[in-house]
Amino acid sequence: MVLTGLVVVYIGFLILTPLTALVTGAFREGLAASFYSLLQPNVLSAFGRTLFVCILVTALHAVFGMVVAWVLVRHEFPGKRLLDSLIDLPFAISPVVVGYMLLLLFGRRGLLAPILSAWDIQVAFALPGVILATLFVTFPFMVRELVPVLKEADRSQERAAATLGANGFQIFSRITFPAIRWGFFYGLTLTFARALGEFGAALVIGGGIQGRTETATIYIFHAMEERQYIGAYSAAVLLGLFSLLMVLSSEFLKRRHE
């Protein structure tokens, strides 16, 4: 009883109190003021940009994350263990450092600057940089969700289908994918949610230029610096709520499925 109370108090203090404080802070000048602050054109465009980046990044990882997980589970080749440990790299590296790495590659005096300027491609301080940063940071989520479910998937059905003359794509789409689809969808939502919240790497490589590379998180950061608290808090509530609903609902679906 004492232990339960202690845990409830700790979680209440650490997680629920700050959450409540943010929501009351956002609405302290009334609902209308909050909604008004969210409907400003620069806020809408920052959220739109975030959504675009998230969708693109999730789609890319859906394809390539699947390929990487597949190769890690089904193939044997020298260096596979090294590769496997590299997957978690983005998890351990600070987002600021990720953004800085990309700046060293694509920045004005970066390694690839001559090629980029010859082809007139802008990556740093432009949306492609933000997309690359988000891709790096979200790399492990899809792969780490898919590897265990791929390992568990029963391969006898695949072999049976192969014996009956199904080609590789047919086997994948009709047998393998249905078996791992819950892990796949869960990986998608985790990737999306992590991409929604990306801040440090996107700020360093993108520069947070209003109207060009300012995503929702960067807008919140700027609004805090400019002391526009209602705008910052309201956008933070919206972003947090969106991300929370996504992760919790997919978790609920996953648990029900299991």
């Binding site: 845990v7 979680i11 700050p18 190769v71 600070s94 987002p95 800085y100 805090m224």
Partner: protein
């Protein structure tokens, strides 16, 4: 077994040649994706850090401001890890062993930090404990405690962000434990604390350690939550990630690369330590 009459043999010999070109294709796609996205950026930063030689790299890391930012990052992470290890284990224990109304809700709340962007976490703490807020002002007036723009805010932010790691590492192992030994010990008169220390804790040590180390590694690089709560005061609340951000902004390339490399080295060291511990325990248990 391997006679041509065997269907498995037939199937194998028929599909192998076609599959192997597909294999190579898939493998090269996977490898180039990894190479482009992960490996090249890492090589570039190491190259940049070593551009002026090892001595200059070391000098940049040991500059007083840089050195104190790394120190602050480490000691706040250590305190967070210790609190997280105790409270995470306790939370897992309560969630596995006790039944009480609202248990499922509590179990769901544990995952909230994973879903909330860390920048939003920082803002939550500022709204709650900021110097202009009721609670923050009261703590300052009554007890002279500052949380925001001070190290306690950094520790709180890290605790929030990494809360699920220990809980989710310990929980499955705890719920898989056989309770017969505990019951035997209780019959023999062992106290609750003795049972916990001698029977329950030993099998939990491995997941507890890896979960705690994981939260440590994660907090070395934390930026979004900290940049909001810390106020970026050199020698006081400037962590390594915030220092690197400042150096990048002011175009001090060599300094940014040096501290970045120090952070990468620490985080990778911890990740490899986790892998080594897991590997060793697997070998021991076999």
């Amino acid at each position: 077994m391997n006679s041509p009459g065997n269907p498995a043999f037939f199937n194998l010999s028929k599909t192998r040649p076609a599959a192997s070109t597909g294999h190579l294709g898939l493998r090269s796609i996977a490898l180039s994706y990894l190479l482009l996205l992960l490996i090249i950026p890492l090589v570039v930063i190491v190259r940049d850090g070593l551009r002026e030689g090892l001595a200059e790299l070391w000098r940049q890391i040991t500059l007083p401001v840089a050195w104190s930012s790394i120190g602050l990052t480490l000691w706040t992470a250590v305190i967070m890890t210790l609190i997280n290890a105790v409270m995470g284990t306790l939370t897992a224990y309560v969630l596995v062993r006790y039944n009480f109304p609202g248990k499922n809700i509590l179990n769901t709340i544990v995952d909230i930090p994973l879903a909330i962007p860390s920048l939003v976490t920082g803002i939550m703490l500022v709204v709650l404990f900021g110097p202009q807020q009721a609670l923050g002002a009261w703590l300052k007036d009554a007890y002279n405690i500052s949380i925001i723009f001070a190290p306690p805010g950094i520790i709180l932010a890290l605790l929030f962000v990494t809360f699920p790691f220990v809980v989710r590492a310990v929980q499955p192992v705890l719920s898989g434990l056989d309770r017969a030994q505990e019951e035997a010990a209780a019959t023999l008169g062992a106290s609750g604390w003795t049972i916990f220390r001698k029977i329950i804790l030993p099998p939990l040590l491995l997941p507890l350690t890896t979960g705690a180390l994981l939260s440590f590694a994660r907090s070395i690089g934390e930026f979004g939550a900290i940049v909001i709560v810390s106020g970026n005061i050199p020698f006081y609340t400037q962590t390594a990630a915030v220092y690197v951000f400042g150096e990048v902004e002011s175009e001090n390339r060599i300094g940014a690369s040096a501290v970045s490399m120090a952070m990468i080295a620490i985080a990778l060291g911890v990740v490899w330590l986790i892998k080594a511990i897991q590997e060793r325990s697997r070998r021991v248990s076999i």
